[in-house]
Symmetry: C2
Amino acid sequence: MAPLKSWLEIDSGSHFSLHNLPFGIISTTSTPKPHPAVAIGDQVLDLQIFTEGNGFAALSTIQPHQAVFSRPTLNDFAALGRPMHRVVREYLQTVLLEDGPFPGVLKENTSLRDNALIAQKECHMHLPMHITDYTDFYAGLHHAYNVGVLFRGPQNALQPNYKHLPVGYHGRASSVVVSGTPIRRPNGQILTDPAVKEPILSPCRKLDMELELGCFVCKPSAMGEPVSIKDAPEHLFGVVLMNDWSARDIQAWEYVPLGPFNSKNFGTTISPWVVLIDALEPFASTGLQNDIKPLAYLDERERKSHYTIDLSVELTTDSGNSSTICKTTATNLLFSFPQMLAHHTVGGCPFNVGDLMGSGTISGEGKSGKGCLLEQSENGKVSIRLSDGQERVFLQDGDEVTITGVCGGEEGAYVGFGKCSGKILPAMEIAT
Amino acid sequence: MAPLKSWLEIDSGSHFSLHNLPFGIISTTSTPKPHPAVAIGDQVLDLQIFTEGNGFAALSTIQPHQAVFSRPTLNDFAALGRPMHRVVREYLQTVLLEDGPFPGVLKENTSLRDNALIAQKECHMHLPMHITDYTDFYAGLHHAYNVGVLFRGPQNALQPNYKHLPVGYHGRASSVVVSGTPIRRPNGQILTDPAVKEPILSPCRKLDMELELGCFVCKPSAMGEPVSIKDAPEHLFGVVLMNDWSARDIQAWEYVPLGPFNSKNFGTTISPWVVLIDALEPFASTGLQNDIKPLAYLDERERKSHYTIDLSVELTTDSGNSSTICKTTATNLLFSFPQMLAHHTVGGCPFNVGDLMGSGTISGEGKSGKGCLLEQSENGKVSIRLSDGQERVFLQDGDEVTITGVCGGEEGAYVGFGKCSGKILPAMEIAT
Ligand SMILES: [Ca+2]
Ligand SMILES: [Ca+2]
Ligand SMILES: [Mg+2]
Ligand SMILES: [Mg+2]
Ligand code: NI
């Protein structure tokens, strides 16, 4: 398929080709209230202004619902359901297409073009969704194995349940922030000597990141009513990059027997643009092969519900120097988002529009594919050499971590996520 | 102190004496939209109607904020802060007081009395708060010890971290429901033989309840900014009874290494009336003595931040017969809600108005004080004999569990919570 060409100038390397059109929430100097937009090249199409300018004139199905484009989050748009996301995205593609059927809507409507097309650098990005509940899974098989080896050795690396169900834990919805938000190093209880079970309160000394995908839910499901594996895809809105910042020393002390808590709730960063499931479909793929047969409620058979997304992690030190510390792909998952949702609801857990599921850390098999520093440094034992000569085992204050993700190999047709980044601020001083 | 006397007739055994005035969300046939009320005796004072009838005429400080009394949750009222809760509650006490200073407001205003005072049995109760995030702690020392003995023996019953920090996990906010909501037995992965790690999908066979208190937060705290133990009480709105329904067999299989998940997210029941912290103050007490000295950020010194609440659990079988299966008091906690909040925020986790914290299962020392069936039946080994001759180790379909809680020993001056109950529905059929 040749790349779709727009009458707008779009850099051929852009993550936001006409094949993408991800949705986000922006504010600008002239429209300071947060509202929806789609990214296109290095610009955005402001959907509030577009709607006010009668941009949806040629799409009657959306007209009763146009108020969703003046809301401060995408939840109401998401709640319209996947068929509506599809027609809106496809309509916007035709509006932006070089020889589209509706040139009067935008291409030849210079006043609307002047108002509704805005440079991305002039937009302030907000959290795209009001996040109602947040769950983080652990479906990155290589990550789970590598971490298991570090703590329990290769024989018992994976827990007995690991391949039977997507292991996950409830996270803290309030702590999810948009890319660019600084992350303060947490204070917490840690052991200075693991043999002496006497904690101190200290700034985290093993601050880490985790390379993940996040997926938003767009269809509610009632308490007591499971979502079948067959229906699950219709419940998924879109995907973002996610960095599940993690305090390894706090986690090691707090996590028995109820799981990670303060080690995970001080901040989780997501990328601002939600790439719709439809935009990802051309890159659909199978994930990792599960060598046990899952129970029927998790059995996807041959469906391709993973995506070939090239992922990378860059670490920028306070010298300004950047090093790529990880490269992998998003197919390194043992369970897919539909499987996660089917499992999450099998006992009747209710879902709301705006719920977020994290994939778990995505690691490839080799050393360069390890999606967190815990794995890369073998829990602090092996230094990672950066391009400016500095070394790291965990994150230092002033470090900035940037995750990128992009699908496709064809110039002008990339479907990318942009950036998911956050910079570490020093810990708050501990009052004594 | 003699009981406060109202011009309203209030049964001397009522949980809702003039000393209490808990807040909740009701709807009625004539006002079907959920809105706030306070409970008084076997009636409620409908705060929306009271406000519309100029009931707050003599309390100027609330007047700019009166819209909070027509909202569908208590969040906006809670957000006004503890000083405002205090003046509103005290004002309503004087309005209802036998020889109060404002007889014209309600006592002698027969049309407002006719409209704003409604029998509780005519009110439909709703979830009192929009629950933004939900965390469940594990601060019931005897419970943690008893469960630890069952799984690890008396030597290692408590984990090394247990007395150093309030252990907790993030729960599922969407699954919190109001008393009276039926609870469907969850399906989930369980092992039929723990030695063979091959799960089946099955209705839970070890369905349990947990006797807890819940506490709502009324003051937001920003990401990165801890709430000190000194400031924490000003962040607490009020307390409810809570039943953290638990699927022990699902939990046993799923919980390594990230904690309970589907075993806890199919339903958590809370009582409908939020008893304000001010109403509990006369019953303030210390909790269990901690034999280790907590770190400074958790050190409450002598403050009494627990409450002497007599708690009981009743099990009603489908025969209609009720048996009291547990009696204990709420002082059986090692950590208080202010300590939980100080710990939860020490690493910077942000809080919103409407966040809920559960205490953890509250068990007394003796057999009759065990706050869940896992403890009472020693994980299914010992039968509990009910008053109708039936026996239980875990819950059966049709069983109804009712938690009650009340403070005070003086007739006419009780501060109670009413009931927190839920009845077990059979599991959904598993599609094959
Ligand atoms: Ca994670
Ligand atoms: Ca619990
Ligand atoms: Mg996190
Ligand atoms: Mg629960
Ligand atoms: Ni919410």
